[in-house]
Amino acid sequence: MTRGASLTFDQVSKSYGAVMALQPTSMSVAPGEFFALLGPSGSGKSTLLGTIAGFVAPSGGRVLVDGTDITGMSPHRRNIGMVFQNYALFPYLTVAQNIAFPLKMRRLPKSEINPRVDRALEMVRLGGFGPRMPAQLSGGQQQRVALARAAVYDPPLLLMDEPLGALDKNLREEMQEELRQFHHTVGATILYVTHDQQEAASMADRIAIMNHGKAEQIGSPHEVYDQPSNSFVARFLGEANMFRLRQVCADGSGHMRCDTEEALSVLARGAASGAVACVRPEDITIATTPTGRDNCFPGRIVDLVQVAGSVRYRVAVTPGCILTVRASAERRATVLTMDDAVHVGWDAADMLVMPA
């Protein structure tokens, strides 16, 4: 097992002419950590990854691996493993030759290459697949070969650029589990780029949420979900009902009474005018009778979708305000249908208040 490397970005930035692809960004990844860069396309996450791999020369700042400045180093000297979205397997080489490629570049003797290739194949559960050509394998198998190839020389840092992006949904979930297993086995630090929040949340120790070329928030999946630092983060990670707060005053019970732009009056904690409050769909109770929570509104179901294990309702509380409510499967016992008059409610403590 390899010891993972630490990774530090020190004010790394990248501009293409007048376009700032990456604003000066600083962050650190701990040895052995599974760290995800999550963001929409064009948010700068791939640019940041490119500065580590050596494909993108930063316009400013330094990239440090285990304290060593690698900013100007050419890619082939960095000893970093990388897995690409479309696998990037060499189509004219067999699976075994693909995995042997980095060992050959390192001029290892043949007697050492073969056993290491076999071990790498075993690790990704593809023992015996060595003589096959990449085109003869399924997408999932090809990505496992790419993993083996990137890990066979024991790099202390592995970069993954949307490695599951080309796979279909079921296989993707299966591979997530496999990747976590893989991370435990190899022990390397993993930097994982994705635009899929579910993928990032289920695998990573920590997530950096990227937007417009900068990191909006860095934290564990729980932290960024439960304490989003702004409305972009709240919306990007999971679903959120957002309220823009206009007028705020203390109501004497420790809560703040807020008028929202949606013409609702809601109770929240620590609110200020101009801020944004959000409530997660699963924190809202839906019932046919008033819910008795701090915030309670009558409404009408305008849409409902069965999702695995839960039901997702859209409830109109005012003409301009439709809330998303997620009720767990047991709630399905109370049969609610389209156009039903219902009551929704949540507590002031469920309101996450953040700057807009």
Binding site: G54, P75, H76, N86, F90, P91, F101, M105
Partner: protein, 267 residues
């Protein structure tokens, strides 16, 4: 007019077009090949008898051999030079920066469109100034100007045909620039490069205009010697040599087709 009738007419029309094309493309070839076997001492069609006399005549004249050997040497050198320069420019245009690539691509392709006579008129005084006139180098350089665009085109297509991440992957795996080219780019563009090289050779092997301006008696190519013979003594030897050239070209095109097929199977 009913749809069926229109279809019938258009089908009849395309059949006619195909026949005409076939006649115009194939007929001259058939005429030349048949004339080469004539038993007369001048070019006749249709031949009154079929003999190999003119092939033996060509065989026994060393000028044809010398010219053939010159053509092969010049063709091989042209192909090699075109492959190197064509690959380099294709790499620059498809993998390089974005600003000048459109212009560079147009410039590289231009000689393919220009009449050879114009290139010849431009190159002739240049070669005189460089004291290269009447040398192999002059002919090879001239032919490379018109042959390189073909390599550029086939290699560019090959480069666009695969994910550049392959080269990035090679580099992260420890390959330096040269190794990434040698172990990834070259295998990926291999058949495109070979096809371009064969085209370049064929262009050089068949080229007359530049050879007229840039070659001399010592560097005489086969098309040039054929041209001279046509002007002086029209004997069926010309048809015999032309048929051999044709056969050689057909073999080259056969090689191209084999390469294309193996490429399709690999993909």
């Amino acid at each position: 007019m009913s749809g069926a009738m229109t279809r019938g007419l258009s089908r009849g029309g395309s059949a006619l077009l195909l026949t005409l094309l076939g006649v115009f493309l194939v007929a001259p070839i058939v005429v030349v090949v048949l004339m080469s076997f004539t038993n007369q001492i001048y070019l006749t069609f249709p031949p009154t008898g079929l003999v190999l006399r003119w092939y033996f005549a060509a065989w026994n004249e060393s000028r044809w051999f010398d010219a053939g050997w010159n053509s092969i040497q010049i063709g091989a050198a042209t192909a090699f030079l075109s492959m190197v320069l064509g690959t380099l420019s294709a790499l620059a245009v498809t993998r390089g920066g974005r600003r000048w690539t459109g212009w560079v691509a147009s410039l590289v392709i231009a000689p393919m469109m220009l009449p050879h006579i114009i290139i010849a008129i431009g190159l002739y005084p240049t070669m005189l100034d460089l004291k290269l006139a009447n040398t192999y180098i002059a002919v090879i350089l001239g032919h490379t100007v018109v042959a390189m665009p073909l390599v550029f085109t086939t290699v560019s297509a090959a480069l666009r045909g695969y994910d550049p991440a392959l080269e990035f992957a090679a580099m992260t795996l420890g390959a330096n620039g040269w190794q990434a080219f040698r172990y990834v780019t070259l295998p990926m563009i291999g058949s495109g490069l070979a096809i371009g090289g064969i085209f370049a050779f064929a262009i050089s092997f068949d080229e007359l205009m530049l050879a007229l301006f840039l070659a001399s008696a010592r560097t005489e190519t086969l098309p040039r010697l054929l041209w001279e013979h046509l002007q002086q003594t029209i004997t069926p030897v010309i048809a015999a040599v032309a048929t051999l050239v044709l056969l050689f070209t057909v073999l080259l095109m056969g090689a191209v087709m084999l390469l294309r097929r193996s490429d399709v199977e690999a993909a």
